[in-house]
Amino acid sequence: MSLHLEPYQIAYKFLIFKFSILLFMNAIKLIASFLLMLSVGYGLNVKFGSVPPIGKFLNPYTGIWQNETDETTTGTLSIPNLKDKVTVHYDAQLIPHVFAQNENDLYRAQGYLTAKHRLWQMEFQTFAASGRLSEIIGEAALNYDRQERRRGMVYGAEQTLKKMSEDPTTLAQVQAYADGVNSYIAHLKPEDYPVEYKLLDYQPEAWTPKKTALLLMYMTKMLAGGDNDMENTNALRLFGKARFDLLFPDFYNYTEPIIPKDHDWSFINVLQTPHPNTEPVLEAVAETITKPDPNYGSNNWAVSKEKSATGHAILANDPHLGLNLPNIWFVMQLSTPNHNVFGATLPGALGIISGFNEHISWGETNATRDVIDWYKIEFNTNRTHYKYNKEWKPLKKRVEHIKIRGQEAYRDTVLYTHHGPVVYDKNFKSDNNLSGYAMQWTGFIPGNGQKTFTEMNKAKNYDDYKKALKHWVAPAQNFVFASTEGDIALWVQGQFPNKWEGQGKFVMDGSQPENDWQSFIPQKFNAHVKNPKRGFVSSANQTPVDEAYPFYVFNDGYETYRNRVINNYFNSKAQFSVDDFKDLQNNNYNLKASELMPYMLSLMDTTRFNSDEKEIYQLAKHWDYNNAMDEFGPSIWKAWWDVLYDMVWDEFEVENMALTTPFTYQTIALLKNNGDDDFMDLINTPEKETAKDLFRLSFSEAVKNLNTWKTKHGSLKWVNYKGTFAGHLLQALPAFSRFNIPIGGGKNIVNATAENWGPSWRMIVEMTSPPTALGIYPGGQSGNPGSQFYDNFIDKWAAGDYYQLHFLPNDTATKAIIGTQTLTPLK
C-alpha cells in the first residue's frame, strides 16, 4: 500500500467532500422547499370538491373581499352601439328608472343594468335550463343535465329562437339586450365577478339571444312542465276505470271557474275533436322525470271602476313561485318617448312581465292546462324508425354533448318523433330495447312570447292588450287586465290543443294518427271575459271554465281554495279600495282546514285521550282557521292532515311504480261523503278502518309528531313550525339565504307563503291617470349577497307592507331619486 497523503491533502479532500455534501444538502432543501411552495400555491388556487380555491377565494385583491361593495348609482358609463344618451335614475329601493330615446337603446340598457345587478343569477338560470350544470359543478349534475336535455329544453329554446328571429323587430331588440349584457361583462375584471363565480371557480360567458329563449323555456318548464299521464296510467291499471274516475273526476262537485259560470259561449263555432275510440296504452315507466313543484301558482284580480271605492279600476297580481335569493324578479321602470312602463322583469327576458304603463296594467297567474302528452313509441329492430299509421317513419337523432367539469364530455343521443323527443327509452329510466315514450308539449311549439311583453308594455287599451296576447303560446297564463278607461278583462292565453274527451289523461299509442293533437283551439275562442256583470275578474289557478265551455278541459290539479276565498270576498260588499286589496293579498284564512277539521273534531271520542292529546285537542278546538303566525291551529292541522292523507292513500305506496295520490279537494270530499269506502281501509291492518277510525289514528300519530318536533325545535307556533325561508339559488346555501321569515299564510291560502314558495311579487295598481301603484317582493334588487340591497325587502314583505312605486312621468329626477347614472354612446 503506497497510499500516503500529506495532512494538507487530507484537509483539502475533506473540505471538498464537506462542500459537496453541503451543496447536495442545500440542493435537496431547495428542491424540497420549492415543491412545498408549489404545492401550497397550487393547493390554494384550485377547487377541491365543493371547497372553493381558498387562496383565490379569500385573498383581498381578487377574492370575496372585493365583493364587499355597495351599488354605484352615479356616474357616466360608455356603452358601445348606443344611439343616444340613456338616463338611469335610482330610487331608495335601488329600482332603476330608465329613460331611453328609442326601444333598442332601452333594451340594451335593460340588458346592461340587469347584468349589473343580477349577472350570476341570469346566467345560472339559463345553464340550469339548458342542462349545463355539469360544466359548473361536475358529474354530480349529470343526471339533472341529461333529464333537461331529454325533455327537450334546448330543442324548445331553438324553436322559440327560430320564431323570434322571423320578426326583425324582436330579433333586433333581443340582440340589443344581449349586447347590453355583454358590454357589462366585457368590462369586468376577475375581482369584479359576482361572488358565486368565485365560490364555484368559473367565469361568466357571453349572453346570446338563445339564452333569452332558454330563460323563457325555463319559465315554461316551471309553469307548464308538469303532467300526470304516466301516473294516471299506472293508477288506471291498478284500480280500474270506475275507481279512477271516483278519485280523479274531470270536475268537482262545485265549480268556481275563472270565467264566471253564467258566461255565454255561443260565439264559439268550432267543435271539440270527436272521440276516436282509441284505448289508452296501459303501460308506463316506473320512475318519471322531476316535475316542477305543483304548488307554484298565483293570484290576480281586478275590480271595475263601479266596484272601486275611488271610481278607478284597481288591479292586483301576486305570482307564487319558489322563494329564492336572488329573487326571480327584478323591478324596473322602462321608458322611451313613446311609452313608459313599470313593473317586474325576469332577468334574461326583455320588458316588464307584470306591471303597468300610463294606460293599462296587467299581471299573470298560471293557467295549468294539460299541455304535455305522452305517446308510447314502437321502434324497428335497429332503432332507426318508429311505427306510425301502419308504416315505419324515420327517427331523427339529436346528440346532446354534455360537458363535465374535470372530465370528458358525455354524449347522449335522443331520438325525436313527430310528437317530440323520446324522453324515456332503454338509455333513460326504461329498459325496453324496442319501445320508448315520446313527449308532446306546447313548449316545443315555436312562439314569440317575448313579443307579447314588448307589445303589452306599449299597450294603450283593451284592443292593444288583446293583440299583444296573440303571440303567447306557452306557458299558458291567465292575463288579468285593467285600464284607465275603466275596462277590466281576463284572458286565459296559450296555444291549447283541441283535445278529444279524455285525450292526454293517459299514455297514448303513438302509432295511431287519431291520437295526435288534431288541431288547436282557435286563439279567439280561448276562454276570456271582459267587463263581467259582477264587476270583477279574478284567477287563482282554478279551473278556467265549467263544463259549458265547448272544448275539453279536465281537472289535472286545479287549485280549489284560494279562488273561493277571493271571489267570496268580492261578492261580500259593493266597493273595494286599495286597502282592501292589501288585506286580501295578506289574507290567511284556511278554507281547506275549515272544510274538514271541524268535522273531524266533532267525531273525536275524547274520553280515552292521553294528556298530550287533550292539550292539542283543546288548542285545535279554539282555532279560528286563520293561519296567523302565532296560532297553534295551523301547525296542528298540517301535522294531522299530513298523516291522515298518507293513511287514506296507503294503496298508492307501490314499489317501483310512479303514482300520484288524489288531489286534496277530492280527498276531503271522500273523507266526508264516502267514509266507509274501501280506500279508507289501512291495508296493513287486519281490521277494516273507516274515515272515522283514520281521524282518530292520525290524530294520535300527529300529536306524537308534534311533540317530537316541539322537543327538537321549540314552540309549535305556526311561524316556527312552517319555517319559511328564502334559499339562495345554489341549493339554499345557508350563508346566502334567509331563514325563519316571520310570516303567516300557507298552502292553498290567499297569502300562499309556505315553507319555500309564496308571493314572489305583490303588486296593486289603481288606474288613476297616471296609475298609482304599490309593489314589493321577498328579496332585494341586488344579486350581491354583500350588498345591503340583497334581501332588504324581506321583512317589509313579510309584514304585509308595500313600497309606493315611483312612476316618473319623464326623466326629471324627483325627491325619490337617490342617484343618477348616464349611459352614453361609446365614441
Partner: protein, 117 residues
C-alpha cells in the same frame, strides 16, 4: 432585529406592489424577493414573511369590509364555517396569505444560499 424589521417591511412593500398587476400568489414572489434582499436566520425565515403578509391581508380585508358593514364577511364566515365572525375570517385570510409567503420565504432563503455560497 433590525434585519427582521427590514425584511418584514420589504415583504409588505413588494407584496403591495406586485398585487397591482399580479394575482394573489404574487405574495410568494414578494417573500422570495425579500429573502434575496435581506437574509434571515432559522425560524424567522418563515415567520417574518408570514407575519408581514398576515398583517397585510388582515388589514386590507378589514379595510375593504369595514366600509360595507362587514356584510359579505359575515356571510362568508357562515359558509366556511366560522360562526359568522368576520374577524375570524380576516384571521383565516391572513393565515392563508402568511402561509403562502412563509413557505416561499423558506424557498427564497434556500435559493439564495445555493446561488450565493
Amino acid at each position: 432585529m433590525r434585519h427582521n424589521l427590514l425584511h418584514f417591511s420589504i415583504t409588505i412593500v413588494l407584496a403591495f406592489l406586485f398585487a397591482l398587476f399580479l394575482p394573489w400568489w404574487s405574495v410568494m414572489l414578494a417573500a422570495i424577493g425579500a429573502a434575496f434582499l435581506v437574509p434571515l436566520k432559522k425560524a424567522t425565515v418563515f415567520f417574518i414573511p408570514f407575519l408581514g403578509i398576515f398583517l397585510l391581508w388582515f388589514l386590507w380585508s378589514y379595510y375593504l369590509s369595514a366600509s360595507n358593514n362587514f356584510i359579505m364577511a359575515k356571510r362568508i364566515a357562515v359558509l366556511l364555517p366560522l360562526e359568522g365572525n368576520p374577524y375570524l375570517l380576516m384571521v383565516v385570510t391572513g393565515i392563508i396569505g402568511g402561509l403562502a409567503a412563509g413557505i416561499a420565504g423558506i424557498f427564497g432563503t434556500q435559493l439564495r444560499r445555493l446561488i450565493k455560497e
